[in-house]
């Protein structure tokens, strides 16, 4: 876990100090895309090689849907309450 947080912190510092000139930032975006693609491919390989996941995909899908509905629903509810109480009034 610490490696992830340290990598993130180093990245933020590099970004803040603008070590990379603006015109080269597009390579950072490309690099990120390639990284995500490779990692998702390897995640896919692990999924494909894991028969347990293939057989349980339906259950996992339902479970994920419950997670998605719950997190969305409570986010909506709390943002609505907070915005009614603290944010909406001083906009008009």
């Amino acid at each position: 876990m610490w490696m992830i947080l340290i990598s993130l912190a180093i990245g933020v510092v590099i970004g803040l100090l603008k070590f990379i000139p603006e015109k080269h930032m597009k390579y950072n975006a490309k690099f990120q895309q390639i990284g995500v693609i490779l990692l998702l491919f390897s995640m896919g390989v692990s999924i494909g090689a894991n028969k347990e996941i293939i057989y349980n995909l339906k259950d996992m899908g339902i479970q994920s849907a419950v997670f998605a509905v719950m997190t969305s629903l409570f986010s909506i509810f709390i943002v609505f309450v907070v915005s009614k109480k603290f944010l909406e009034g001083n906009r008009q």
Binding site: M25, Q33, L40, V66
Partner: protein, 200 residues
């Protein structure tokens, strides 16, 4: 990008299922943890580079941070309840919930930190969350208020769902939506590992 993401995952699943021998698959782990750290580094560079968000924030007022804060709180509560239904350990359900819709990153993060099964649930959860957001944004903007329309979008409110939010709300909300997405995107690579490391 969505098609490329799904394509990469599908190709991986097919080659894992049909072609690749066990020996290669077991070696892939060390490579991915290195690749993941490089990816997070690159995400960090992006976040650090986005200093303009701070100026936007000063203009919009720091009160606006209540929106991402409320989304973190809501997602956490929702995640705890969903985890309770499926009798999952708290650290796992909090890890899944704090993807805030960024499915590619939360999927690979939790595959690495935990196992590929949890990573898959995180990936699917956050794909579904983005779909829910796309459907709900116009309805919420009309029936409740503009702030609430940002809520289901989570971290995606700065990129993939931003056009829908722009269409359903106004210019001021677009700025808030962007700030919200930037804050939550920064929190995903921090909160997922932190929540996952909680031991009870």
């Amino acid at each position: 990008m969505t098609y490329i993401i799904l394509g990469a995952l599908t190709c991986g699943i097919l080659s894992g299922y049909f072609f690749l021998p066990e020996s290669i698959i077991s070696n892939i782990g060390t490579m991915t943890s290195f690749a993941l750290n490089l990816l997070i580094l690159s995400v960090g560079i992006d976040l650090g580079y986005n200093k303009e968000v701070f100026y936007d924030l000063r203009k919009a007022g720091f009160k606006i941070l209540l929106v991402p804060l409320a989304i973190v709180l809501g997602s956490t509560i929702g995640g705890i309840i969903a985890g309770f239904i499926y009798k999952m350990p708290l650290n796992v359900s909090l890890g899944i919930a704090s993807g805030f819709g960024w499915y590619s990153l939360s999927g690979v993060l939790l595959s690495e930190l935990s196992n590929v099964k949890i990573g898959t649930v995180a990936f699917l959860t956050n794909v579904f969350r983005e779909i829910i957001a796309l459907i709900m944004i116009p309805i919420l903007a009309q029936k409740l208020n503009h702030f609430t329309a940002i809520a289901p979008a989570g971290a995606t409110s700065m990129d993939s769902t931003l056009p829908v939010i722009a269409e359903a709300t106004d210019q001021e909300t677009v700025v808030i939506s962007f700030i919200n997405g930037a804050v939550l995107s920064a929190l995903v690579p921090i909160l997922v590992p932190l929540f996952y490391s909680i031991k009870i």
